[in-house]
């Protein structure tokens, strides 16, 4: 009772942050409740890049005799680091699409969507909280994976960890905004599993996550250059592999930051529009 009263009296921003935290904590607890999650989240970031690195090694040859074209396209002959960083970025986006973007779909499947949707809290906080949970849960395995590959000598980390952290922090607004748009879509159209499959492949291709972007036709390269994720992975690769600083990529960093903020505004607007629409048309219940 007293808790309810304090919630009524709380500042709107405090109340919003409290509901975001509640959702984040709920998702962290329900996910970490299953031992298999620990196994999967620690094993996958290590075994997934392996397969692509070995394909690269098979094509590069024992002494790098097949490496010429790749080095020309990627501007580096360190194909292992190039592939590992791209694969981990792809995995990170992929997992966040499933956990954050599909969080409302998961609620529907569990039968808790209607209950959550009728709670006296911001609906936006349901997605933002789920996305934060996803970011928290998946960030640590990524760091462990990078440490593992660095320890076995497959990933040469030349840049500053602070610069890497800055690049990662700057891409989060874009991810959050994108996931808000994506969640709005799932609320309106209900079935989004196939869309996740499409989006993760589109990002992999247009952002050059697992291969050099220069291998694409010029038209597709231009589309890829418009996606902030492409700039993000370019900056991370440059910092990690070549030891550059984020200041050397000020235009890319600026683009990622500004487009991230725009994406958040677009995401919030899209989500609120869909929320009003499903309320008006009575689409909240049912699949």
């Amino acid at each position: 009772m007293s808790r309810a009263h304090s919630a009524e009296r709380a500042h709107p921003i405090t109340a919003w942050l409290r509901s975001v935290w509640a959702v984040t904590w709920r998702d962290v607890r329900t996910t970490t409740r299953y031992k298999s999650w620990f196994i999967a989240s620690l094993i996958w970031p290590i075994i997934y890049p392996f397969s692509l690195v070995f394909v690269g090694r098979g094509l590069a040859g024992p002494s790098g005799e097949g490496l010429g074209r790749f080095a020309e396209l990627a501007q580096t002959s360190d194909y292992q680091s190039f592939i590992i960083l791209g694969s981990l970025a792809w995995m990170f986006v992929n997992i966040n699409l499933w956990m954050g973007g599909l969080s409302l779909m998961t609620d529907r499947t569990r039968g808790t969507f209607d209950t959550h949707w009728t709670m006296p809290v911001s609906k936006l906080s349901l997605v933002v909280g789920a996305t934060f949970a996803s970011l928290i849960l998946n960030f640590v395995p990524m760091v462990i994976s990078i440490a593992f590959y660095a320890a076995i000598g497959w990933l040469q980390v030349s840049g500053s960890p602070i610069d890497i952290a800055i690049a990662i922090l700057l891409v989060i607004p874009f991810l959050l905004g994108f996931l808000l748009c994506f969640s709005a879509f799932t609320v309106r159209f209900r079935e989004a599993g196939m869309l996740v499959q499409v989006m993760r492949t589109v990002f992999a291709i247009l952002c050059g996550l697992q291969f050099p972007l220069a291998v694409l036709p010029p038209g597709l390269q231009s589309i890829g250059r418009a996606i902030p994720l492409t700039h993000f992975i370019d900056v991370v690769r440059s910092v990690v592999i070549q030891g550059a600083s984020v200041r050397d990529h000020s235009s890319s960093i600026g683009y990622v930051a500004v487009s991230g903020l725009i994406m958040i505004v677009v995401g919030v607007l899209a989500f609120e529009l869909v929320r009003a629409s499903v309320r008006r048309t009575g689409l909240v219940t049912g699949y």
Binding site: S51, V55, E65, G66
Partner: protein, 285 residues
């Protein structure tokens, strides 16, 4: 009385084939009922492969790789890879359909009902995967043709001469899959197990790259898995590449495993099933 009569018929060849037919028919009806899934089953492998294709051509335009030639003696990656991809597709099907079939039945609340049917469990397990394997064979055929025209991959015609290995390979994979299904009964969480195991087995057996590129400890693990020898045999006989070890030894390991694995798989499954019945934990997720 009727129960006794029914159990008398358990395992009789007529009953077994009737049960297998019924399970295949059930799965075929489910498949036909969702045409969008069937369509995506053909399209998704093409789309998913695109990033891998772009990685390959960033090293080897037109599929000609000097690096591959140094490893195994052929530079034609566009013929080398499809052999592994076909085997990888079959591995994935067996894992998902033998391992995951039981979990799917658990999820939809049918496992106990089916377990108490007067049909041998092994018949049910094999029946669940038969339709998937048949479907996969057809889908692989279509996907190979699509890969030929979309990506320029060519599966050499000489692969037909290796069809004699198909039956032993299916036996080997079924043995593997049945043993794996028993693990699913034990561990319950099939999704992570199937996904991770299928990916690891496909990776370690060299479906996408020559096992020669692995560090030595991984080569040792790869050589301990009979599927590696099967894939290498196919590549040696089809493309004339340098084998991992003597082809005679590879053939012996492969053929003896195709006899041993089904026996071990069935024994393992029976032991786990007995344990589940004794403990009464079949319904627990």
């Amino acid at each position: 009385m009727s129960t006794t009569r029914t159990s008398d018929h358990r395992g009789a060849p007529g009953t077994t084939f009737a049960a297998l037919g019924a399970i295949i028919k059930k799965n075929a009806l489910e498949y036909i009922r969702y045409p969008a899934n069937a369509f995506f089953g053909l399209i998704v492998p093409l789309i998913w492969f695109l990033p891998m294709y772009l990685l390959i051509v960033s090293f080897a335009p037109g599929g000609e790789s000097q690096g591959l030639e140094s490893w195994v003696g052929t530079s034609n990656f566009f013929s080398y890879l499809p052999i592994g991809l076909v085997v990888g597709g079959i591995i994935s099907t067996i894992f998902w359909n033998l391992g995951f079939a039981l979990k799917r039945l658990m999820d939809i609340g049918m496992l106990e009902t089916i377990w108490s049917c007067p049909v041998p469990r092994m018949t049910y397990i094999i029946g669940e995967s038969l339709f998937s394997v048949l479907r996969q064979v057809v889908e692989i055929g279509i996907v190979i043709v699509a890969f030929r025209y979309v990506y320029g991959f060519t599966l050499p015609l000489s692969i037909l001469s290796t069809l004699r290995y198909l039956v032993p390979f299916v036996l080997l994979m079924y043995g593997f899959g049945i043993g794996f299904a028993s693990l699913v009964l034990l561990v319950k969480d099939a999704n992570t197990m199937v996904d991770t195991s299928s990916f690891l087995i496909q990776g370690i057996t060299g479906t996408q790259n020559p096992p020669q590129v692995f560090p030595r400890f991984l080569v040792a693990i790869a050589l301990a898995i009979p599927i590696t020898h099967f894939i290498d045999l196919l590549r040696v006989e089809t493309l004339g590449i340098e084998p991992l070890i003597s082809p005679t030894i590879e053939l012996s390991v492969f053929l003896s495993s195709s006899v041993l694995f089904p026996v071990l798989g069935v024994l393992c499954f029976r032991a786990v099933e007995r344990r589940s019945r004794r403990r009464g934990d079949l319904h627990i997720h």
